[in-house]
Amino acid sequence: MNKVVATLLLLLRDGTGSPGRLSVYVADSLSVVAARAAAEALAGAVGAVSGCSLVGYSVVYETVVSDERPGQSDRREVLRLVFATEGGGYAAVDIPGLFADLVGEDGLSVDGSSGTVGALVSDLLSGPWCNPFGQQLTALLASYREVQA
């Protein structure tokens, strides 16, 4: 279920370099393009009453999932998938709560080519997913279990 509002955060910085933010809300149905245009206009108005400088803004759309079942594994057991990306980059995707029966006998390896992990890898490679630099995922390099604090 999508929340009825999306959150717009104006990110500011004062004369000492300390960060501050202004948050307001818009209807969830507002497009990103329209939200950005509104953010630009608001930033101009805020800039005239604040001594801070604008360093950026974010529009965050949220979806809530209603799932009554309790968790069944430890979040510290993490499935780490490492991908090569276009442009010679890398991307890592971590999924917490890895099922123990997906881990190999060595306690580390996870087969990324078959079963449910294979389906996940296939979805990540065929979907719009990329690394934080916008580089598309091209191939799975490694899949393994990692214990994270």
Binding site: V5, L12, R13, D14, G15, T16, S18, P19, G20, L22, S23, V24, Y25, V26, S31, A34, A35, R36, A38, A41, L42, A45, A48, V49, S50, G51, C52, S53, V55, G56, Y57, S58, V59, V60, Y61, E62, V64, V65, D67, R69, P70, G71, S73, R75, L79, A91, I95, P96, F99, L102, V117, L120, D123, L124, G127, P128, W129, C130, P132, G134
Partner: protein, 167 residues
């Protein structure tokens, strides 16, 4: 001024058997629409859920824009100095919007923000117009009060040159 739209980040939120929380973050191309991002996220969630005992509690999609050449902030500006604008919403509730680093020039001696100052009036008019709402989606309908307040400074916000000179 140079704005750059960053690749949006989809953050999936999880809860494990003990109630502890964790997350998975994956990026998508900058041109992706919200609808397409949600479709892809729903599909990926199904595949992820087949591999984890954690419960998916939701996800968010953050479309961020960064200013690569931010202007200089006023030397005496402080984010702890807040301009508070409290509005009545169309649902009859109150919503507060806080502006960090409010200029002293728009604050009256009593601490009230001068809503008749041109720049303040412009900001208020902007907030009363589309598309701004409160956290429940109700339109902002009228300004109720506007005032200055101060938040406690964290250690990192203290002046870097606060130690006396050694003469």
């Amino acid at each position: 001024m140079a704005r750059v739209n960053l690749p949006p980040v989809v953050t999936f939120s999880w809860e494990d058997e003990s109630g502890s929380r964790s997350s998975t973050q994956v990026s998508i191309p900058a041109a992706t629409t919200v609808a397409d991002a949600r479709t892809a996220a729903d599909a990926l969630a199904v595949d992820m859920q087949a591999n984890t005992g954690c419960v998916l509690t939701g996800y968010s999609i953050a479309f961020s824009t960064t200013e690569t050449a931010p202007g200089l902030a006023a030397a005496d500006s402080r984010v702890e100095r807040k301009g508070n604008f409290v509005f009545r919403t169309a649902a009859g509730k109150l919503a507060r919007i806080t502006v960090p680093g409010i200029l002293p020039s728009v604050v009256l001696p009593s601490g009230r923000i001068d809503e008749d100052a041109a720049t303040v009036a412009t900001l208020i008019a902007s907030l009363l117009g589309a598309p701004w709402t409160d956290s429940n989606g109700a339109d902002l309908s009228a300004l109720v009060e506007a005032y200055e307040s101060f938040r406690t400074s964290t250690k990192g916000q203290l002046p870097r040159d606060r130690k006396p000179d050694n003469e």
